[in-house]
């Protein structure tokens, strides 16, 4: 990791993000470690090799050979004549105003002509260009530049970049959690260094990564997970240093009830299935990272990505050597021993996580999953200390209405708030400032609150006095009295 002083440089094994205009794409450290660092991004194939050693933030051009070349600072070529029209009343869109054909342009590209020059050619060969208004010319040039002058910037990953990327590319993987909603969660949850956080998410590990970033490696996190193991595909995109993971624990949801009732034991662990799940999760992770890299490729090209484990396996099956079989038996014995050690380590970690949870003094709870939030909230809040914030995300509003009601019945929480954020991006240009044309229709909902010491006597929490704590009395009267 780069601290202070000089700017960070791109190194082998880094996790980086490719950026072209507004589009991001994560590149896993696998890719930067492989021999063929070939990647496709925004319809362009290229090798990442030349990026190594450059400073993060460097912009590159893709050469005709598919290599990256740092973009030279060039003088902006302005059209010599500032000739422009006043409006479009006489401009007819017949598709014939550009004199260069597809083939002409292709020929220029093949000759290795730079994008800037191609754009210039397009302008000169457009019969309607000089009739366009200055604004229309501006827009035209921007559009052509975007198509032909593609520059790619390599940036360091961050919550900002990864949450924007996931929301744009794979919103389904993160339950349509929009990046500003995630931002609210991190702040409302008072996520900061030194916290002991409980995180329950099924957002590919993006929320976990965001929490880890805000904790800076200080404090501890217990990640609750469904099934056999937590998915942390997005977490690995952040490129956190190894020490960050020292205080990251995980605990299976399936053991929560037993932990709360005091019957928790490691004897009935879904061990073998857990281990198998881990391996399949590992494969799934690799598949997921290659998903990040290969976009909507035909499957043949996806297979081109080097996957050493698969190759190894096919090699094994094909060889029929006797000696080879003997070695294989030895290998199997070693594998079994390895598995036993792994099992023992798992058990140890599980006991550690259980102990941390049992202290019931977590500094906060974050929930963002595909599951109905109510059962998660009601059980996981038990592990949180009093006077600590909690935030629950749900793609839909209704389950949070239920959570609200159930929390009122339970008591021990105050300042409950159900909210969503409205986000709008703007185009700001002289005489042309306005909100952008498209915007997100919804970014999910949040229910937040603060824990307080829970009074076990149920009557306490439902007295009129207790209710007064939460709802403004005038509103309450109006809505509960039936209109006659």
């Amino acid at each position: 990791a780069m601290e202070g002083g000089g700017s960070a440089r791109i190194r082998e094994g880094d996790c980086a993000v490719l950026k072209r205009d507004e589009v991001f794409k994560a590149v896993s450290h696998h890719t930067l470690l492989c021999y063929f660092r070939k990647i496709i991004f925004e319809k362009q194939w290229f090798y990442l090799d030349n990026a190594i050693g450059h400073v993060y933030g460097t912009t590159f051009e893709v050469t005709s050979g598919g290599n990256l070349q740092p973009k030279q600072e060039v003088e902006e070529t302005t059209t010599e004549t500032k000739e422009a029209g006043t409006d479009n009343r006489n401009i007819v869109d017949d598709g014939k105003s550009q004199k260069l054909t597809h083939d002409d342009i292709k020929a220029l590209k093949d000759k290795g002509i730079k994008g800037q020059e191609i754009v210039q050619q397009l302008i000169e060969n457009s019969t309607t260009f000089r009739d366009k208004t200055e604004f229309a010319q501006d827009k035209y040039i921007k559009k052509k530049k975007k198509k032909y002058e593609a520059v790619i910037t390599i940036v360091k990953p961050s919550t900002r970049i990864l949450s924007t990327m996931y929301y744009a590319r794979e919103p389904g993987k993160i339950n349509h959690l929009r990046y500003d909603t995630l931002a609210q969660m991190l702040t409302l949850g008072n996520i900061h260094a030194g916290n002991k956080m409980i995180v329950m998410e099924t957002c590919a590990g993006l929320v976990l990564g965001a929490v880890m970033e805000r904790m800076g490696g200080y404090g501890s996190i217990i990640q609750m997970y469904p099934g056999g193991g937590p998915v942390r595909a997005a977490t690995s995109c952040f490129g956190f240093p190894k020490p960050f993971f020292d205080n990251l624990h995980e605990f299976p949801l399936s053991k929560v009830h037993s932990l709360l009732s005091g019957t928790f034991t490691t004897e009935t662990l879904p061990e073998d299935s857990a281990l198998m799940e881990e391996e399949s999760n590992g494969l799934a992770e690799e598949k997921q990272t290659s998903l990040q890299e290969t976009e909507e490729e035909p499957s043949t090209e996806a297979a081109m990505e080097i996957n050493p484990t698969e190759e190894q396996e096919t090699m094994d099956i094909n060889t029929e050597d006797v000696e080879f079989k003997e070695n294989k038996e030895k290998e199997n014995k070693e594998n079994v021993r390895e598995k036993q050690i792994k099992q023992w380590e798992r058990r140890k970690k599980l006991i550690e996580a259980a102990a941390l949870l049992r202290e019931k003094n977590a500094d906060g709870l974050i929930v963002a999953s595909k599951f109905h939030p109510a059962p998660l909230l009601l059980s996981l809040l038990e592990f949180v200390a009093p006077s600590r914030p909690f935030v629950v995300y749900c793609q839909y509003k209704e389950p949070l209405l239920e959570c609200y009601t159930k929390l009122r019945e339970r008591g021990g929480v105050i300042n409950l708030k159900l909210s969503e954020t409205w986000l709008r991006n703007y185009q700001v240009l002289p005489d042309r400032s306005h909100p952008k044309l498209t915007m997100s229709g919804g970014g999910g909902y949040l229910l937040s609150g603060i824990t307080v010491v829970l009074d076990k006597s149920r009557s306490e929490s439902s007295t009129p006095e207790a209710l007064k704590m939460e709802e403004p009395s005038s509103k309450r009267c109006k809505l509960q009295d039936p209109p006659c």
């Binding site: 949450s163 900061h192 030194g194 200390a385 209405l401 400032s433 307080v452 809505l479 509960q480």
Partner: protein, 306 residues
């Protein structure tokens, strides 16, 4: 306790938040021997607060009770004494994320104002980062210093009393991020650039008026900033309510000739909505929007130093 580290029990000298009920709370400086008046009675610090766990219920002299909460920048924002218009947590949240702030970050801010954003920034960059905040109003700068001291965060922040447009932030080439909330941010862009580290630093400018935004974007472009992006964010809160809706009486389907539609001469309909109500209501839970909400705070413009 401090604003950057949780504590379990209330101590002498702490700033705690007294929670009385729905959106009713206020900060209190815990001190041996003092008392605090609330509408539910008196709270005696020595007996009722000091030594108690945060999150405890405290019964006041008149019998009513309150909760004592651990301070957080978010609670502080809702309860701090205003010296200027402040930024609320909705804007603060997106600013924090878009500036990529985290423990260890070096941030520059101007103007300090009432310290709402400042507290949030300090919390995020702790324990190894630092906030350099510039305020041109002398009393406000001093009040901010005092509050940071009281809140146990003075080691994480430097308050400078000067005009950022003329004299900058007092640091060069080290900031990971710069935040501007001043009347003429375009005049400070140059200073922002020199305060920022060589590559990859982030800048944010907050302005209520689009004209200010336009001038600022132009200045950012002139100074070579990239990824210039302007957005606005608004909070929509919903009240959870159980709603009862009456089922209308549509009359009988057959027999009666006068059964189609509402007939004022129909005796069964006159003065009987209440009776129908007893039989015909539907209840459901709803997230009801507030009548009046905040429609605008300011435009946020972000950019990257290249």
């Amino acid at each position: 306790m401090s604003f950057v580290e949780y504590g379990d029990t209330i101590k002498d000298g702490d700033t705690a938040i007294v929670f009385l009920g729905h959106e009713s709370m206020f900060p209190v400086k815990v001190q041996h021997g003092t008392v605090t008046q609330t509408k539910y009675g008196v709270i005696r610090h020595s007996t009722d607060l000091i030594g108690k766990k945060y999150g405890s219920k405290v019964t006041c002299s008149k019998g009513g009770w309150v909760f004592i909460l651990h301070p957080t920048p978010e609670l502080w924002t809702m309860n701090l004494p205003h010296r200027t218009q402040i930024l609320y947590s909705t804007d603060i949240s997106i600013i924090t994320m878009m500036l990529e702030l985290k423990p260890g970050s070096i941030v520059c801010e101007s103007g300090t104002g009432s310290g709402s954003l400042s507290h949030a920034l300090i919390r995020t960059v702790a324990p190894t980062g630092h906030l350099y905040t510039v305020e041109f109003h002398q009393q406000r700068a001093e009040k901010a210093r005092e509050e940071f001291r009281e809140h146990g965060v003075e080691h994480l922040v430097t308050v400078t009393n000067q005009d950022v447009c003329k004299n900058g932030f007092g640091v060069s080439n080290i900031a990971d991020a710069v935040f501007l909330d001043i009347p003429s941010p375009w005049e400070a862009i140059g200073h922002a650039k020199s305060a920022l580290k060589a590559e990859g630093g982030r800048i944010c400018s907050f302005s209520p008026c689009i004209e200010q935004v336009q001038r600022t974007c132009l200045a950012m472009e002139e100074y070579g900033f990239t990824e210039i992006n302007t957005l606005e964010i608004l909070l929509r809160v919903y009240n959870v309510r159980t709603i009862s809706l009456q089922i209308p009486d549509l009359g009988k389907a057959a027999e009666d000739n006068s059964s189609s539609g509402f007939d004022s001469s129909n005796p069964s309909q006159q003065g009987s909505p209440c009776a129908n109500l007893q039989q015909g209501t539907v209840q459901f839970k709803s997230g009801v929007p507030l009548r009046e909400v905040v429609g605008h705070t300011g435009y946020l413009t972000f950019a990257t130093k290249s």
